[in-house]
Symmetry: C2
Subunit: 405 residues, 2 copies
Amino acid sequence: MSVPFSIEEMRIPEFLARISADLDRCVAFWLKHSHDEEFGGFFACLGKDGKIYDDLKYGWLQGRQVWTYAKLYNEVERFRRPELLKAAVKGADFMIKHVKEQTTGRCYFVTTRDGKPIKQQRTIFTECFYVMGMSEVAKATKQEKYKQEALSVMTKIIHWVRVDDSEIGNAKLAGVKPTNSLAVPMILLGLIHELTSGDESLNKTYEELEEWCVQQVLSHVQREGSVILENVSPEGKEMPGSMGRLMNPGHAIECGWFLLQYAIKKEDRKLQETAIEKFIINPFNTGWDVEHEGLFYFLDVDGLSPTQLEWNMKLWWPHNEAMIAFLMAYDQTQDQAYLERFAQVYDYSMKHFSDVENGEWYGYLNQEGQVNMDFKGGPFKGCFHVPRCLMMCEQMLTKIRATLT
Amino acid sequence: MSVPFSIEEMRIPEFLARISADLDRCVAFWLKHSHDEEFGGFFACLGKDGKIYDDLKYGWLQGRQVWTYAKLYNEVERFRRPELLKAAVKGADFMIKHVKEQTTGRCYFVTTRDGKPIKQQRTIFTECFYVMGMSEVAKATKQEKYKQEALSVMTKIIHWVRVDDSEIGNAKLAGVKPTNSLAVPMILLGLIHELTSGDESLNKTYEELEEWCVQQVLSHVQREGSVILENVSPEGKEMPGSMGRLMNPGHAIECGWFLLQYAIKKEDRKLQETAIEKFIINPFNTGWDVEHEGLFYFLDVDGLSPTQLEWNMKLWWPHNEAMIAFLMAYDQTQDQAYLERFAQVYDYSMKHFSDVENGEWYGYLNQEGQVNMDFKGGPFKGCFHVPRCLMMCEQMLTKIRATLT
């Protein structure tokens, strides 16, 4: 490179060192505290220092931790260790046995420590994380059984989403308006990426679905391209009320890098621009709290109070997603503006979320950035967003560093 | 009285004047902004100044507003106005037609503006507020039809709670532990009070149930009488995990004055002491934020972080319930300490929640007492806790003032 490095480019070694160290601490935290040697599966409810404060097993988090361990094993050399693979497989086996309802393929949101079902959500998300975990364990073990688990539940999910969702348990009430919720096409788009990466034989199977997901996701771009709304009508129109005005900046940004990944694969420049500008930059600019820093959790597009009590809290995962998204955008474009935004989110996150002493990040800060709840794992926070972010950022920074030197 | 008045007793005229004025403003707010003249029922989602930001009709809030209007009409002379009665009846008719599912007696949690069902909760609460509204409208109109609506759904609720809850839609999953949740016996105890007040013929019908509710409620007193836990086992033991450690100070205090009402009716001095000491004083002392004032929403009995993100917010209704509870305790005992606590909650509430300019209170403050969401009505806040508190406090203060002069 003939031009001098920018301030942020100069910081790349610092970013990389800290992120790698945080990833090591994060993985060590879950390895040390979350394994249930007696019944299998993972404890999710872990205090600041890893102490178990509840022994319930959450389905989302089982699938996500299985995925994380298998992914680390598959992709990061220093984590290609038997203990990670063994734990991933043990977690997958717990899920097959206890989290999946055998006759319907539906999964339980939460079970007792020994795997007795407690609750089923009226959504497809536990099932999606089941597929995600099984798919990655299949790649790690090369065992057909896990691949078949992934594919058979994926087939069920597609049926529920596109043909008939009566098995999901949502009564067909007369006032329910058909809704395109960003979460659904977005999570499917992410899942297809997972299923097909390294297994190109599946590309054809999911080609049409993937294109459908992209179109569904794009219909959330509203108000002349300026905002992403969480819920739109099946025709891609704004919907009335609080639900119709809801924005979730972190969600839009996460969706942004899913779309960007797809655009890279398809070498689709126009879609790449849309992903970066509409799904990453705009929601970031709208969602960033200029007074206290950090990303808001929920906003109302007309500036009203969201009805979610936690709307102005700063949660860890939107910051994880923003770090991935900006680094990916920079990696694709070499536009300094994205590396600056990455640095902005990195600085906030390392200052407020990261816990160097105990490992793993705090999850929930108040608007001012103080720790509002000091646990590291809870019903909706497990071994997933933090290690996925750190792993992906480590990979991207390593690649970027190589191009700069 | 030969002893000089205390500071708080001197303030009774001030309390009364402000509370009466706030009640007038509150009722005026709902009368002006919440009536749906076209489809019947009440809008609940109202902004700071009453502007409708969502037109969904929430079942809890329909029943509660019907009750509030009918109660004001029945018990407060200046509100014995045809427009309140008419609106209560119109609301009740909307509920009969749209909120109640005709064949099962189950009620919908939320409907469209024109009454099409959107969602049913897997709980009995909408049904309880249905009964509460119908019962009070029956007293106001002397129409048997509303009484029958109340009694028939009450019979259903009792069946679901004590015999078989399969109609509530909770799948019988193997890991679900039978739980005594404070909300259930507590709301039934309150309902029986409503149904039997002014209709003593029903005393016998609900006598055994009422006694059962009291025993169920009392089993939430845990750790040698020092705390009220939200969830205990059917045998009255502590339960494991976050759920077992959960405390909701406002809920315990509300339950405290329900119990106190019952103790007064039964002239049961021992129960009166238990109600005041265990359900009102202890939870208040535990729940009061000594740093920033106000009552926390949720706490963990072992001092861990609750998993509810909104745990440290200050919600309006615990403060309403504490005002009622302390004034009732003072009225029964003439113990100055309770009037002091009333004054403490009154001062905080009038400073932070009350909105003299627009009427009705704000509902949601952050820990520091700043308005976190500026709407006056939302999916869980309607015309109920504020006017019930102001009406009951007005009645009690009027009575207390008469004894002091």
